[in-house]
Structures are given as structure tokens and as C-alpha cells.
């Protein structure tokens, strides 16, 4: 399979040249970082180790060996509620496509990681805050179904502000749809890993993010069901800084591990190794039947 154009251009030019700014300021320590250095350091601040939110294709580039076969890229948002506020929903979507260079809030597909074939879904906060509407739910469901069909392990990176309001109940129902696909994948004995990145909240955290065999999180990622503001308004007091961070969830027993981005690929590959024999056997059985 040929290398997709976007991947080739990425590999050739290195850093994200689409971003006009050559420099990025770290939102935590204020250090001004050269984009090229930042990209070389996997978008982790070289001074304070703050993990920047990553673009989906940068993430795929960081994890996948060579080619990446996308699934569901042609699925595009409809407008079931005919939503209008300051703008119509289609106008909002068009704006986010333009700004993010993405066709929707998730990129899904099949590729290899250190030689292991894997189904990989990567959500991107830069597209409507990573909110889950029909397209995100549909693409991930297609990914999970394809993983099941091919006896592949599945890894999903989450980054989401929750359900997408402009799609109303259609958005909420994606929690049910993705869950149904997850149960079938897992029932067949396939490994399912989720990596929770900043932020993972609402309908995404309350569905597939926490249904996996292993829940990994990036350092300091904000993870929770209710948003921080909602809780503060409810209890009428300020929450401690640590509240709802990955480290906090690890301490409370809600997630399996917090992994620095530099160790992430190795960690995922190690996890894949534990079930790779099973995967080989399953594929063997399929071939025997043919």
C-alpha cells in the first residue's frame, strides 16, 4: 500500500509546517519553544515537561511504522437537528475543518506499531473540542468492527469535551453505539486499550474510554465525568488543582497507569506483546478454515 500523501509530507518536512507560528509558548511555564524542537520532543515542553495537546496525524506519525489505512474518512457530519445559534451547525463544522485541517474529531485506521498490526483511533481536541457526534461514534464503531473482523488489538486515544450538543440525542446515542462495538470486540478476546489524553470528559469518558482492558493516561491530563466548572458551581467552592488529573485518578484506582509521552509507544508495544500469541493463533484458525 502506498504511503498516504499526508504521511509522506509529514515525514519529509518534519514539524507541522501548516501552523503559521514557528514558535509556541508553553501554557504552563511560559517558555517560548521553537516548533521544530517541540515536535522533535513529541510536543512535550523541553523545560517543564508539559504535554501539549497533539494533532491526530502527529500522534499517528509518532506511533505507526509506515502506512496507515484510514477507516471511515468519508463519513461526514449531517445536521439532524438543523441546529442554528450564532451560526448554523454546518458552518461551524466547515470552520473547524478549515482551522484544524481535519475532516472530523477522530482519525481511525489500521497500521503497524513496531511490527504489530493494530487498529488505532485518535481523537483530536482541535476539532470542536473533540466532542463526540455521529461521525466520531460511527468512525470508531467501524474501527472496532474492523478490528474484530481481523482479530486485531484496538487502541483508542481519547481527547474530548464530551457529547456534541448540536447533534442532541444523536450524539448521546453514540455512547451506546460505540459500547456495543466494544463489547463484541472484547467478547472475542481482543485486547482493547484506551489512552486518555487532555482532556477526557463527559460522554466519551463515560463510555468506551473506561470500558477497555487497560486504561492508560498521559501526565496531568484532565479526566472526569462532570466538568470542573459544573462541580465548582454545584458545591460552591474551588477545587484543588490536582483534582481530576491523571495522577489523581491513578491514586484513586480509576486508571492503570500514567505514562510519559516519550515512553508511550514502548508501553503500548509491551502491552501488545502479551496478547500477540493469541492474535497469531486466532489468525491461524481463520486461515485453517479457508
Amino acid at each position: 500500500m502506498p504511503m498516504p500523501d499526508w504521511l509522506r509530507s509529514r515525514r519529509g518536512k518534519g514539524a507541522d509546517t501548516r501552523d503559521a507560528a514557528l514558535w509556541s509558548k508553553c501554557p504552563v511555564c511560559g517558555e517560548v519553544l521553537y516548533r521544530r524542537d517541540l515536535a522533535a520532543n513529541l510536543f512535550v515542553c523541553t523545560k517543564c515537561e508539559h504535554h501539549f495537546r497533539m494533532h491526530a496525524y502527529d500522534r499517528i506519525n509518532m506511533l505507526i511504522d509506515g502506512d496507515f489505512t484510514e477507516i471511515g474518512a468519508a463519513v461526514q457530519a449531517g445536521d439532524p437537528l438543523e441546529w442554528v445559534d450564532k451560526k448554523t451547525y454546518p458552518v461551524k463544522i466547515a470552520g473547524d475543518k478549515e482551522k484544524s485541517g481535519l475532516s472530523e474529531g477522530v482519525v481511525a485506521g489500521i497500521g503497524t506499531m513496531d511490527g504489530f498490526e493494530v487498529a488505532l483511533g485518535v481523537m483530536d481536541f482541535h476539532f470542536r473540542g473533540g466532542t463526540m457526534g455521529t461521525v466520531v461514534g460511527e468512525r470508531l464503531t467501524m474501527l472496532l468492527e474492523e478490528a474484530r473482523r481481523r482479530h486485531l488489538p484496538c487502541i483508542i486515544f481519547t481527547a474530548s469535551g464530551g457529547a456534541r450538543m448540536e447533534e442532541g440525542m444523536f450524539a448521546l446515542m453514540q455512547m451506546a453505539k460505540t459500547t456495543a462495538a466494544v463489547t463484541r470486540l472484547m467478547d472475542d478476546g481482543n485486547l482493547f486499550v484506551t489512552v486518555l489524553t487532555d482532556p477526557t470528559t463527559g460522554g466519551v469518558s463515560a463510555s468506551f474510554a473506561f470500558e477497555s482492558d487497560v486504561v492508560v493516561a498521559e501526565p496531568k491530563a484532565m479526566i472526569g465525568f462532570a466538568g470542573r466548572r459544573v462541580i465548582e458551581q454545584t458545591i460552591r467552592q474551588k477545587l484543588p488543582d490536582q483534582f481530576q488529573t491523571a495522577e489523581f485518578l491513578l491514586e484513586k484506582g480509576a486508571i492503570d497507569m500514567v505514562v510519559d509521552r516519550h515512553d508511550l509507544k514502548n508501553t503500548l508495544v509491551r502491552l501488545l506483546q502479551y496478547t500477540s500469541q493469541k492474535q497469531v493463533r486466532a489468525l491461524q484458525q481463520v486461515q485453517d478454515k479457508l
Partner: protein, 327 residues
């Protein structure tokens, strides 16, 4: 506009009381007041139609939250038998979930409902029907039990949303809801869900994955509460009325979308005006659905449930696989 339904209903109830008084007086006194009574009665009916004939989505939100609207326990108490089961086996029992074995028209079921209070004291105990992780873990546990024992699951949904407190976050509210979705998807028995009041967000959906979903005419079911939606999108919770109109959260909208399966009509003025009738109609619908679903094999039931949720969504293109995309 806030709580207009309750306000306007008060005027109506006052008129109703005056008509009753006149009727009583008419019997005991020599002067015939039939004409006055008839006039008042006509005015009453006009007013009732004016208020309740065409409820806006926002008015339906208030109707769904009406303090006198029948709650889960009003339905559960009308079952043939009920043995409540308690606790999540880990931490505590959440009173916002009432659940246990029951008989519905002679059929064993596992019933579970979100329970709000009628008054302040009970609301505090039941956390206004906002379920904590412990409640959702009780639901998971009993759904699992029901599935193992081949007992159908019957749920009643009535919540503004899952509890948004500190302890709930510490006890992994997300995981608790996610695993409910998982358990309901996996269940080997028929599931019938009824939205009897407000169905708010993921906290409602946790009891909402079902083979047959019933909704009362004036119940609402939405991705977020109108207040929450307005706060998220426009940073202003006071625009809730506008959000309610945009969210398409009424039973009629959701039936048209194929997200719910059946609407149970309410009497003019709302379910609380004739609670006994509404409760028995809903239970009848649940029973009918269970009968139909009970005839299906486990595999067919689970396949149909999968396909039902698989289909929900709205997107533009046919399903296609595209190899690589240019940015």
C-alpha cells in the same frame, strides 16, 4: 417563565376548587346555580386547553420535573410484588436507585429506577434523583444477576443527570456509567426502559440501553439538561429555554428520530392529574413489550439490540473506506 407550568396550574386548581364548592352549595341551597357552574366549567376547560394543549419544549421540561409527577416508586408500588435489593457490595447503598426483584402481571422482572424525592427532606436523602457511582454499580450488579438468571430488566428513568460531586468523581463516575452501558449491551434478557420524567444525559442513558424504549408524552430526554447545554455552548445557563427548543428533546421528536420506540399519552394537564391511569398504561406497555421480546431467542435479541444502536446517527456519506486522506 421559570416553572410557569406550576404557577399557571395553581390558577387552574383554584378555579377547580371554586367549581366544586358551587356544586356542593347547589345541592344544599334552594337557588339554582347550574348556569354559573356550567359557565365556570367552560372557562376552566378553555383555560386548561390554553395552558396544556400545546406545550413548548421548555414547558415540557417543567412538566417532566413537576413535583407531583409520578416517580419510579409510584410505578414500582403498582407491581404485583417487589423485593428491594440494596447496595453495590463495595461502599454503600445509593437511595437514588430503587431496585429489586418484582412481578409484573405475574412475570418475574428485575426492576430498577431513578428515584427523586417529593419533598425537600426526601430529595436530600435521594440526592434529587442524581445517581452516584455506587448507585450505578448497584445497577450493574443487578443487571448482571438478571441476565444470569434469565429475568427481564425493566427500568424507569427520571434524573437531571448523574451526580456531579467531588466524591462521585473520586469514585470514578465515568467508569460506573460506562460499565452500566456495557452490562446492558451484553445482557442476555429483554430490557424495557421507560422515561417517566426527565432523562438527563449519560446519567439517564446508563439505564436506557433497551430493546424497547417507552416515553411519556411530556417527558424529555436530552444530551444535556437545557441549562447545561446553554452553559456549555453560550456560557449562559439562563438561555435554557432557547436550548430546550433547539435540542429536540420531546417524545415526538425522539420518536421521529427512531431513538425511542413508543409514546404513552398523558391526560390534559399532565401525568400527575391522573397518576393511577398513567402508571397502569405504562406498566401495560412494558408488559406487552416483554411478551413480544420474550418470544425471541437470546441471539436474535442481542443481534437486534446491536443493530438498533448501530443504526442511530446522521451522517452524509455512504459507508466507504478511503485509503489515506490528504490534509
Amino acid at each position: 417563565m421559570n416553572n410557569s407550568i406550576v404557577e399557571r396550574e395553581r390558577g387552574l386548581l383554584e378555579l377547580e376548587r371554586r367549581i366544586a364548592e358551587l356544586r356542593n352549595a347547589n345541592v344544599s341551597q334552594p337557588v339554582d346555580m347550574s348556569a354559573e357552574i356550567a359557565a365556570l366549567q367552560q372557562k376552566y376547560e378553555e383555560l386548561q386547553r390554553e395552558i396544556f394543549g400545546h406545550l413548548t419544549p421548555w414547558e415540557k421540561v417543567h412538566m417532566a420535573r413537576h413535583p407531583n409527577r409520578p416517580t419510579s416508586l409510584d410505578y414500582i408500588s403498582q407491581l404485583d410484588r417487589f423485593d428491594e435489593l440494596h447496595g453495590d457490595r463495595m461502599f454503600r447503598d445509593d437511595p437514588a436507585i430503587v431496585a429489586g426483584f418484582a412481578l409484573l402481571h405475574g412475570r418475574p422482572v428485575m426492576v430498577m429506577g431513578q428515584q427523586r424525592g417529593r419533598d425537600t427532606k426526601e430529595n436530600l436523602r435521594r440526592n434529587f434523583g442524581m445517581v452516584t457511582p455506587e448507585g450505578y454499580r448497584k445497577v450493574q450488579r443487578l443487571a448482571h444477576t438478571a441476565s444470569r438468571l434469565d429475568v427481564p430488566i425493566v427500568t424507569f428513568i427520571d434524573t437531571k443527570g448523574a451526580d456531579p460531586g467531588i466524591t462521585s468523581e473520586e469514585h470514578a463516575q465515568s467508569e460506573a456509567i460506562a460499565k452500566c452501558l456495557y452490562e446492558f449491551t451484553e445482557a442476555r434478557v429483554p430490557i424495557v426502559a421507560s422515561i417517566i420524567g426527565e432523562g438527563g444525559s449519560g446519567g439517564a442513558l446508563a439505564l436506557g440501553i433497551a430493546d424497547h424504549v417507552i416515553m411519556l408524552e411530556h417527558s424529555v430526554y436530552s444530551v444535556a439538561s437545557p441549562e447545561g447545554c446553554a452553559a456549555i455552548l453560550w456560557g449562559d445557563a439562563t438561555k435554557a429555554e432557547e436550548a430546550a427548543a433547539r435540542l429536540k428533546l420531546t417524545a415526538a421528536d425522539l420518536r421521529a428520530f427512531g431513538i425511542i420506540d413508543e409514546i404513552v399519552p398523558e391526560p390534559l394537564g399532565g401525568a400527575h392529574r391522573e397518576p393511577a391511569t398513567v402508571v397502569s398504561t405504562v406498566l401495560g406497555s412494558v408488559s406487552m413489550a416483554l411478551q413480544r421480546l420474550g418470544a425471541m431467542s437470546t441471539d436474535a435479541l442481542r443481534e437486534a439490540r446491536y443493530q438498533k444502536y448501530r443504526r442511530i446517527g446522521a451522517w452524509e456519506t455512504e459507508r466507504l473506506e478511503v485509503i489515506g486522506t490528504s490534509r
